[in-house]
Structure formats: structure tokens, C-alpha cells
Amino acid sequence: MSTSPSRVTSSIKPSKSTLEGAIDGAHESGAFDIISAYGRQLQNEDTPMPIAAVLALTELIANSRAETMYELVEALKLGAATLKRGTPNPISLTAGCDLFIRYVTTARQESPSFSDHKNHLVREGNLYAHNLASTCREQITKLSAGFIPDEAVILTHSYSRVVIQTLIHAHKRKRISVFVTEARPLGLGVKAHEILVQAGIPCTLVLDSAVAYIMDKIDLVLVGSEAVVESGGLINAVGSYQMAIIAKAANKPLYALAESYKFLRSFPLSQYDLPSHSPNVLRVPTQHASKSSTSASRNSTSSIKSARSSNRCHPMGSRTMGNKSSASYIPLTMTVDQLANNPEVDYTRPDLITLVFSDVGILTPSGVSQFLVGIFAD
């Protein structure tokens, strides 16, 4: 994934050549490596990606030898761009980077010395990052509590810290039961299920494909988010979009929970506008065959067969296509290659979202864009 061309829709990304030159320069001088700093921050499991990005940028400021505001901001932009390029799914860290850079550019310099100002920025950045994540979640938990009625049956998708916290909070006061989707391919729903069961919440694991089946029993849908975009739509683990469509069709409210550092300044119009989308995702088999280096001339069927033979530990569903009466009915799983062809996140349209709960308040989807404009407009 990291070799795929970055398609970050950010306006601050410098052209590729200057970027690489600058990075090389940075490496030569043995300067600060933002990607490893980011990785270090992420090792703490409680640190969400945007906050890790803020911390990495804070470290960058601390290590920066910039003498002027312009230099510093350029260095930050460069660092953010490097970080985005070096990460397979840069969506949520982009939100953190944009927010922090915006803060730095607008912060008033109090002391005459620029290094003091830098220290101040570092302090503020650390203070923000270390306190905010948990407080945000608490605030969201409080706001959403009123929307969960007693004896509510709640459907949620995949694993999200804020959703889990909200559900546990609600469980202490009300009788709730929860359905969690498995959330292929990462299966994070299983993790969420485990945590919820441990907390004593009646909880059932649901196939991603059984969402429509279960929807009539549901009172409300709660989803976390990777990012909330300017349209008020939502970027989240793949499967959220179809869940939202089904919820809408069944007239069930869908509430999105998003900390304010996940608000992303981006306006995707379709699934294929997401930064994480690349031509590799869900391509048609013939294209696959023509582009693949190992099976350039083969047709789609043979390429599937080759995939199967190369991954014997992952017998595939396509086996039954030609041979329905196959005696050995081994558990069906996709190959690693096939999985890699699938998207990790999808985009949920704002008209499918009832409300967005965030630490800055309860917002209608259109309110998200007003909020973003408030921060980023000059």
C-alpha cells in the first residue's frame, strides 16, 4: 500500500520533487524523522491517530531550528506531507495535522523570542494531546447518554473507543443490548464484542451481511468514525455506508460519534474521492490479469487458480464456482491478495446521518461544515 501514489487532497502538499529533495536533505543532516516519531506515539494504544500526529508535529517543533514563523510552518507542512506519504491510510492523521498546523499559524506570539514561542507551542500541543482525547470522549458520552432510551437495542459497527465508552456508560444507567458487526476484513467487531461482554452488556456478534436481517430489531445505530468530512458525511471502517443505507431504509436513527480532532477538511463526493482509494481497490479481474506481473497473459479464472495454489492455507470461495459438489468444504476465506483489493474505509453520505455527537456539541451534519469553516476560514 505504501508504494501506491498518495492521493491526499490537501492543498498544502508541496510538489513531489521539492518534497523528496527536502526529505533527503533532512535525512542527510541526521534531523528529525517524523514517521518514526509518529510510530512511537502510536505504540501507546490509547493514542488515536490524529493525536499521535499532533504529538509527532509537536516533536518536530521541539527539534526544529526554524528562526521564523514562515520556516516553522513550512517545516510543519513538510512534516505533515511526509507523514501522510509514509502511512497507508492517512485520512485521520490528516485531520490532526491540519488542525495543529492551523493552530500554529494563527497562534499569537506572546514573547519576543521565537524559541520561547516554539516552547510555548510545544507545551500547548502536548497539553492538548495528553488531556483532550479522553476528555473528548467523556463529553461525547455525556451528550449521547440522553439519546439512548431504556431497553434500547443498539447496533454498532466494528470497534471504536468512543462507541464502546458510550455503551458502557449507558449500560451503567439503562438496560441496553448491543449487536456488533464482525467488520471484515480486520474483524475488529470481535474485539468490541469481547470488551462489551466483559462489561456485562448483552451483546451479539453479527455478520456484516446480516445487518439488514437484524435492522428491524434495532432502535438506533451508533457508529464511530475515522473522520468526519466537510459535507457532514462520515469516513469509517468499510460497511458503515451500507449499514447507514439500511438504517435509513428502516427509518432508524444513525448517530455518529466523532471527537473534534477527527473533523477533516475534505469534501468527497463519492467513495472514490477518498484519499485511501487507489486504482488497486476492487479492480475488475481482467485489469488485474493485465497488470499483474506474474500472470500477465492469463485470463481471470486462471489468475484466481494461481492465487489459490500460492495460498494453500487460505482455500477460497471461488472453489465452489466450478465444482459445486466439492466434498471437502473447507471454511471459506479470501486470499491475502483478494483482501488487499478491498477498501478499508468507506464514505457515508450526510443525508444518512441523523446527528453527529462531538465534544463541541451535538451537530447536524450541515453543522459540521459550519464548524470547519469556523476553524479554517480566514
Binding site: 492538548y128 456539541g361 451534519p365 464548524f371
Partner: protein, 417 residues
């Protein structure tokens, strides 16, 4: 809450509070406009008579009175709205006098939520909360942290003292501000109707339900420039407002002297203003909808998500309108905008009318059918998706914008009174 804990010292104000609380509880004051007006008049009296040393005392006093009123009649959301508005006015007037130092002397009053008033809040967090880079003071967080380690800086203490002295001087300005709220309430119908001619075209067929004074004045204002037809649903069995009910039942036996359908009243009122009016039974709303150009209804309370409580039958009208893609226009004063989300009574009526109204339509004043329960829900909850536009005394807004208006009108700290 026992009356003894109320900090209203003044006997006359105390008595006035008790009277309004009792009236609210007995439904002798009914309807969003009437209750709002009573509330603001009472609060003006309380503030005028109040003796206070700090702004917090005044806020606390007003909040206590407000809490009693809201608890006396939680179904009248506009009572709470007016209390919140007055609290916001007090804060604003105080901020204008005392400058950026607020009651605690450590944070600016402009910060939109209580979150930012916590000691940990960094300037980045404030930046996010304020939603605007230009308003942030980056020195703020430093002040907060220093104020955290040492109780309050000497300078801050001095400033706080000084602003306390200013507190008593804001009273006249405060009374003026409250008077403005009263004036606004008294002219709200005309203000809403100001642009009526832009919303109704010649030869339109407009459908309405119930008898909303806002809609009534809106239609009459439009009738000055346009010729159009109004279809009024008779709105059975909600014959009268409670307040009218109390007025028109002098009979000690409790016998109802007069019955009036709200829809019929509306129809005769519009007709007397020279508007072509058609009165129809409620049951034919759907059938008529294909001929209707727009539906105009009033609201009892508009919630923060843009949904609203309106007289029973409004949901039928709005749903039928949606089925025919007919626009639904809601006329409402901004005092009905409630900073609450419709949480617990989403699909149920918040208020139940007198079942005798239903009974009396069974027979002449007649007997209940054996073994049948009778309920008379008073309000419908109309979801924001069913409403196209809200016409208020401060312009026209889509329902999705209500949360923003609410945020601007009230202080976040006052949402729970």
C-alpha cells in the same frame, strides 16, 4: 423545591413567583406565547427587586426561579426558553460592563462550553472550541495554569473586585434588555408576518390546521397583497385552548358552556378578514393534499434538531404533504426555539387534553362507551425531515439550522436550568 430555599428576598416578588407557578401548574396560563410573556414579566419583577453583590448571585437567583417555573409546567418549553434568554442577557450585559474577566476571574465569558473552563484546557483546545482562530487568546491557558497553582493572581483579584463594584450598576441596562424581550414578544406576530407576501402567491391554495395566532396573522398579512384560498382543517376534537376553557366555564358544576373547534375559529377569523376560506374535516387531509400548494402550520415548540411539537393533526398534514411533495412552512417566533433535543417523547404526545372533548363528540355531552378508555393527545411531534422552512421573526431558516440559532440565542451553561 420548598419556597424557603428560594433566594428571592423581596416579599412581593416571592408572592408573584408563587402565583405564576400555581397558574402554570393549574394550566391557567396556557400556550407558548402566553407562558413566555408571563415568565418574562415575572423575571423583570424579580430582577428589578433583586439585591445582589455578585453576578453569580443574580444568575443563581434567576435560575432558581426559572427552575421552579419549568418544574411547575415542563410541557411549556417556552418558559424555559425565556429563562435561558434572560440568563444570557445577564451574562452579556455583565460582560459588556466587566470586560473579558468573568465571574471566576480566570476564563473569558465568550467560551462556548463549560469544557473550556476546566484547568487542563490548552489554548489548542480553546481554539477548537471557539471554532475561530481570531478570537482565541493564547495567553489564556497560561493564566489558567498559574491561577491553578496559586489560588488567584493578585491582579486577577483586583480586577474581580472592581467588576463586582460594577455589578449593581448593570441593573438599569438589564431591565432595558428584559424590556426588549417583552417588546419582542408583543410584536412577534407582526414580525413573523413581515415577509408573508413573499411566501404566498396569488391563487395559491394553502392548508392549515389548528388556530395558531402566528399563522393567522401571517395569512392575514399576506391577504393584503394576494388573493388566495385557505383550507382549514377543523382540528377535532381540540375544541378550545385550556385558558379559554377556564374562561368559558363559569358554571360551578363544571358544565361546558360553549364549545369551539379551533379550526372553525380559525376559519371564521380568516373569512372575516376577507380571505376565501374552506373548512374541511381532518379526515380528508390526505385526499385534499394533491390540490394544495403549501401547508402552513404553527408550532408549540421547536426543538434543537429542527423537529417541533405542534397541535395534534399537524403530523398527518405534514406527512400527507411529504407524500405529495408539497412544501411545509412552519411559522414560529424565535422564543419557541428550545435548546433541547427531543429525547424521551419522540413518538408520543407530550401533553394530553381533556378526554371529555372526545366524549362530547360521541353523543351530545354524552355517555362514554362502556369499557373504553379515551385519550385526547394534544400535540404531535413533527420530525425535521417533514419541515421545509421555518419562518421566524428573525428571518427564514431551514430546520437543520435551528441548532445554530439555539447556540447563538442561549448560553451553553444554561441549557439545563
Amino acid at each position: 423545591m420548598p419556597a424557603s430555599t428560594i433566594e428571592v428576598k423581596d416579599k412581593a416578588s416571592q408572592r408573584a413567583v408563587d402565583v405564576v407557578v400555581a397558574k402554570l401548574r393549574r394550566r391557567q396560563i396556557f400556550g407558548s406565547h402566553e407562558t413566555a410573556l408571563e415568565t418574562v414579566l415575572l423575571l423583570r419583577q424579580v430582577v428589578a427587586a433583586a439585591k445582589f453583590n455578585t453576578i453569580d448571585q443574580l444568575l443563581d437567583m434567576v435560575r432558581r426561579v426559572g427552575r421552579r417555573l419549568v418544574e411547575a409546567q415542563p410541557r411549556e418549553q417556552s418558559v424555559g426558553n425565556i429563562v435561558r434568554k434572560v440568563l444570557k442577557l445577564i451574562r452579556d450585559e455583565y460582560a459588556a460592563v466587566a470586560g473579558p474577566i468573568s465571574q471566576s476571574g480566570t476564563s473569558t465569558p465568550q467560551l462556548p462550553t463549560g469544557l473550556s473552563r476546566q484547568p487542563w484546557a490548552s489554548s489548542v483546545a480553546n481554539f477548537v472550541l471557539l471554532g475561530h482562530p481570531r478570537h482565541q487568546g493564547s495567553s489564556l491557558s497560561l493564566a489558567e495554569r498559574s491561577g491553578n497553582s496559586t489560588p488567584v493572581s493578585v491582579e486577577g483579584q483586583l480586577l474581580a473586585d472592581e467588576s463586582n463594584r460594577k455589578v449593581s450598576s448593570i441593573k438599569p441596562a438589564l431591565i432595558d434588555a428584559i424590556q426588549e424581550v417583552i417588546d419582542e414578544l408583543e410584536t412577534v406576530y407582526e414580525s413573523v408576518a413581515r415577509n408573508a407576501r413573499d411566501h404566498i402567491h396569488s391563487d395559491d391554495i394553502v392548508l392549515t390546521i389548528g388556530k395558531s395566532r402566528t399563522v393567522e396573522s401571517f395569512l392575514k398579512a399576506a391577504a393584503r397583497d394576494r388573493k388566495f384560498i385557505v383550507i382549514v382543517a377543523e382540528t377535532a376534537p381540540s375544541y378550545v385552548f385550556f385558558s379559554d376553557f377556564f374562561r368559558c366555564t363559569p358554571d360551578p358544576l363544571g358544565k361546558i358552556v360553549t364549545f369551539r373547534y379551533l379550526g372553525r375559529e380559525m376559519a371564521s377569523s380568516l373569512s372575516s378578514a376577507g380571505i376565501s376560506t374552506v373548512l374541511v374535516p381532518d379526515s380528508c387531509l390526505y385526499a385534499l393534499m394533491s390540490r394544495v400548494n403549501k401547508v402552513i402550520i404553527g408550532a408549540h415548540a421547536v426543538m434543537a434538531n429542527g423537529g417541533m411539537f405542534a397541535i395534534a393533526g399537524s403530523l398527518v398534514a405534514a406527512s400527507a404533504a411529504r407524500a405529495h411533495s408539497t412544501p411545509v412552512i412552519v411559522c414560529t417566533g424565535q422564543f419557541k426555539l428550545t435548546p433541547l433535543w427531543n429525547l424521551h417523547y419522540q413518538y408520543a404526545s407530550v401533553d394530553v387534553g381533556d378526554p371529555e372533548r372526545v366524549l362530547s363528540s360521541v353523543g351530545d355531552g354524552g355517555d362514554a362507551p362502556e369499557g373504553v378508555d379515551i385519550i385526547n393527545p394534544w400535540f404531535d411531534y413533527v420530525k425535521p425531515e417533514l419541515v421545509d422552512v421555518l419562518i421566524t421573526n428573525y428571518g427564514d431558516h431551514p430546520p437543520a439550522y435551528v441548532y445554530r440559532l439555539v447556540k447563538e440565542t442561549y448560553d451553553d451553561e444554561d441549557i439545563e436550568i
